[in-house]
């Protein structure tokens, strides 16, 4: 991948800024639009890593935790206590901890792969992956709401109580759009947009610095490539923050939507 990028960046016609085509990286089986791509491989690797790490870390649990056990417990505690219990409520949050914990760890590890060397591809920078995750949450919170109140009751519960009669149809349409379109679309697009934009920024700084250093042929630009690489390093650290934050926010919003379907009053 990097070889192709470097060749694209250092062509005769000058520097070409990285764009969305750089994220299409088929590895094998390249027949048209169907291919086993790099993010698919990264996703499979991340799932295997999560399974192995969690099963090894929880095999021998001790009263005085070691480093690995402490890290696992801290992650689990974050999702269980400060996301699930605080938002869904202490009555029936425990059912949803596995779903939220899987979401959190999968998204976190896949996001972190954006800056871990040799992987260096945030899976969620392809829209299909966050879209499927958002669809899972979408199905879960609608299913919970319909199971609890029935279809008519669920649709009726979208309306906030105490509205004057003439405004009810208008608000109902707005709430319908919120629940069925805006929520899943923003849930997917937020994760996708953050990962895509962040990785694009890193690509821009690194390939731009490389172009200025090796292909520009002028001393001024070669000197300027040093702060460009510096910005690349700074943005990598910033990406670490964003990657963690996005995994947290996705799980938080998923818990919030589930809590909304379980709540007694709207």
């Amino acid at each position: 991948m990097s070889l192709g990028l470097l060749a694209a960046a250092g062509g005769e016609e000058g520097f070409t800024a990285p764009g969305s085509p750089d994220f299409w990286q088929p590895l094998f089986g390249t027949s048209g639009a169907l291919a086993v791509t790099r993010p698919a491989i990264v996703l499979v690797i991340s799932a295997v890593i999560i399974m192995v790490v969690l099963s090894v870390a929880t095999r021998r649990l001790s009263i005085v935790p070691g480093k690995g056990q402490m890290l696992t417990e801290a992650t689990y505690g974050l999702v269980r206590n400060s996301i699930a219990r605080d938002i869904i409520g202490s009555k029936d949050f425990l059912r949803f901890v596995p779903l939220l914990f899987s979401c959190f760890t999968l998204i976190l590890l896949n996001n972190l792969f954006g800056i871990i060397p040799f992987f260096q591809y945030p899976t969620m920078a392809r829209i299909a992956f966050p879209l499927v995750l958002a669809l899972v949450i979408f199905v879960v919170y609608h299913y919970l709401g319909i199971k609890r109140r029935g279809l008519g009751g669920y649709l009726g519960s979208l309306l906030p109580p105490g509205l004057p009669g003439w405004i009810k149809p208008l608000v109902f349409v707005l709430e319908l759009i919120t629940y069925f379109i805006t929520r899943p679309v923003t849930l997917a697009l937020r994760l996708f947009g953050n990962m895509f934009a962040g990785h694009l920024l890193l690509l821009l700084f690194i390939t731009g610095g490389e172009y200025m250093l090796l292909h520009s042929g002028s001393l001024g630009l070669q000197i300027f490539s040093i702060p460009t690489f510096g910005m690349g390093v700074v943005m990598t650290v910033f990406e670490l923050l964003v990657e963690f934050l996005q995994a947290y926010i996705f799980t938080l919003l998923a818990a919030l939507y589930i809590a909304g379907s379980l709540a007694d009053e709207h």
Binding site: G19, S20, S82, D86, I87, T186, L189, R190, F192, G193, N194, F196, A197, L245, Y248, I249, L252, L253, L256
Partner: protein, 68 residues
């Protein structure tokens, strides 16, 4: 000079969320300064508001790459 005017659209769409995110975190800092023990609850609300506000800028970014 050549380029894509959709990118300018992204710049415009980032103004509002930029102001909004600033307001949210200003309110969060104010709240924690006045009542430090409410930090955990305020943090959840602040990040929630941050995520909802930021969505507008993300829409702008996605559309900038869609209409190119």
């Amino acid at each position: 000079m050549e380029g894509n005017i959709a990118i300018l659209g992204y710049g415009l769409s980032a103004i509002g969320p930029g102001i909004g995110v600033g307001l949210i975190f200003a309110a969060y800092i104010n709240g924690v300064a006045r009542q430090p023990e409410a930090r955990g609850m305020l943090q959840t609300i602040a990040f929630l508001g941050f995520a909802l506000t930021e969505a507008l800028a993300i829409f702008g970014l996605a559309l900038a790459f869609v209409f190119r």
